[in-house]
Symmetry: C2
Subunit: 365 residues, 2 copies
């Protein structure tokens, strides 16, 4: 992995942007910002969380300051509970106080929570300013690509948000070395998802290389992140605003979001919840004719040490109600991403609520 960083491009016409993946990229952050046209006259705001701040914030501030930027920073509590309107309000106030103007950029240093929150601030501050993602988790290889930014509502996840593409994703894989093992596993959940929806070989590759991935082996990780980002970028380029194709990225997410909301944000990590959701989707797929799909899928997830069952006491009715509040419910129909085989899915509008209910019951450990 060491050596030259890899650059992928998310092709979105005038909103196209680069994803740079490599080791030690934080050291070159100022150069990368200049390359994408972030001016040094206007102040920057780095948003991060209290897990990441002690590890990388000072370094990033120093590097950017040395590069001629004026830099402010804001630290939110780690975890999904920071994706709230209250945290959003505080960051907007902070941005005003620090004098951010229309030429300023907001940098998200951290995982999906920080990226989604900071991105929503950037998207709505003065009707939208520049946004740069500096992911420090595996999960963020998914969330930092594609421009979906949002905060949660107590009643439903990601309910408040917009599409706002970053100017740059700067992925320094050295930062992954400090990830707690549980977050490593949860991050791999989105990685294997990209295989499950789009690339059969990549899904099997993830299973085969699970021990190396869990061990943060440089070479395996680099390949997996690049491949995952590339699949996501391809899909987003074809359907930026989720009119049709992009919805396949939601495999496991309809139930996954409901699990997160019902268990209380933070009880299940996002990657864990969607792992269970993908197991449920595989079961649905099998019931609709894909023989052996459930065993095949759960074997992959379990190789990555991801959960595929629900606690016995989780309230099925509450999960069903949460799913009906989900964004993927439209004009009275439940929209479900259902796998046809490993590497291929369909967006099914005809899934019956009873079928989902029965699958949930069978997932309970």
């Amino acid at each position: 992995m060491a050596g030259t960083p890899k650059t992928l491009t998310v092709e979105l016409g005038e909103r196209s942007y680069p994803i740079v993946i490599g080791e030690g990229l934080l050291d070159q952050a100022a150069e990368y910002l200049k390359q994408v046209g972030v001016p040094s006259k206007s102040p920057l705001l780095i948003v991060t969380d209290d897990h990441v701040a002690p590890l990388y914030l000072d370094k990033l501030v120093d590097v950017l300051t040395a590069g001629g930027y004026r830099v402010a920073s804001a630290v939110v509590p780690a975890g999904e509970s920071s994706k709230s309107l209250a945290a959003y309000d505080q960051l907007i106030t902070r941005a005003i106080e620090e004098g951010l103007d229309r030429s300023s950029a907001i940098l998200a240093l951290g995982g999906g929570v920080v990226g989604d929150l900071a991105g929503f601030v950037a998207a709505t501050y003065m009707r939208g300013i520049r946004f740069v993602q500096v992911p420090t988790t595996i999960l963020a290889h998914d969330s930092s690509v594609g421009g979906k930014v949002a905060v949660n509502h107590p009643l439903a996840k990601n309910m408040i948000g917009v599409f706002h593409q970053p100017e740059l994703v700067l992925y320094d894989v050295e930062t992954l070395r400090t990830l707690p093992p549980r977050e490593v596993r949860a991050g791999l959940s989105e990685m294997v998802k990209h295989g499950l929806i789009w690339d059969r070989d990549f899904a099997y590759w993830c299973q085969e290389h699970a021990p190396r991935l869990l061990d943060l082996d440089s070479e395996a990780l680099a390949y997996g992140l690049e491949k995952g980002c590339a699949i996501k970028a391809q899909i987003v380029s074809r359907d930026e605003r989720e009119n049709d194709l992009r919805a396949i990225l939601n495999l496991g997410h309809t139930l996954g979001h409901a699990i997160e909301a019902v268990a209380g944000y933070g009880q299940f990590l996002h990657g864990e919840a969607i792992s269970v959701g993908m197991a449920a989707a595989a079961r649905l797929g099998e019931e609709r004719g894909a023989a052996g799909l459930y065993a095949e899928t759960t074997a992959m997830l379990e190789a990555l040490e991801l959960p595929v069952t629900l606690p016995a006491d989780m309230d099925t009715d509450a999960l069903m109600a949460a799913m009906q509040r989900d964004k993927k419910f439209r004009e009275g129909q439940m929209i479900f991403v259902v796998p046809l085989e490993v590497g291929r899915v369909e967006i099914a509008g005809d899934v019956k609520a009873e079928a989902v209910q029965s699958v949930i019951e069978r997932l309970k450990a």
Copy 2:
């Protein structure tokens, strides 16, 4: 005015939309919604205020219900204080509770405050759903066209927002008959602004027909609204996201927003504040060489019974500070729209803070 409604189109490629202006359009609201593709399977949410609700809400609900729509409504207190994150949060909650989905539409029935607030909800609910403007004020001929939606931050106006174009603007001029005289005057402020920035003849027309406009004469009003909307639509079509040209629409707004913030939202109506702002801009223009411009401009504003002075006790330093927090301040420069003559303005990046300060002092009554 009676008879066939007029339809203008805001040309924005795939985001183009019609502005329909006419009498009795509320009665045909369901047909117009169907024409622009709002499906009847998903619930609608009408947002209005407690001044407009008693006058037109029941009627609009009845018409839409008769047309096959499921309709919920939310009433906010009239006035600028409803353009807050708190009111926004309540409306998002309401939308979730009423089961709005990605195919739903949010209708803004009212003036600029309701339009900006409801529009920001529509723009960010599930990352953006359909939005329909049903303006009931003269001012809204400006605010309902162009897709700027926002709420205020206690430190600065319209600080939190995005661009989100409506599907339709349905302008029933019958609703203007119930406007309080102060709001009529304030609305005419944006109308004459469209003349001052773009169309010399229209500016003089507003002055000449001021008595008829203030009297809500059907024919004069119809012409003025159509012309105002048409000018705004032309400018927005050329520069949707305010990269350059669109900024001329901000004539009077840099100081105007500061007056609103410093006086406390609601003390000055928006149209009143920008009238004072346009007087200030004319004075700046005259100081930069446009002989006679101040007298010419204030005569127009005074013909429309609009204020052109500031209270003697208004704090100049507070106004200056508020202007520096404004969105139109960028990379350390104050950006000011300065008139060159009636009907033509420039966007000046070289206006000195001292010049603005001195103009403010001279505006004090």
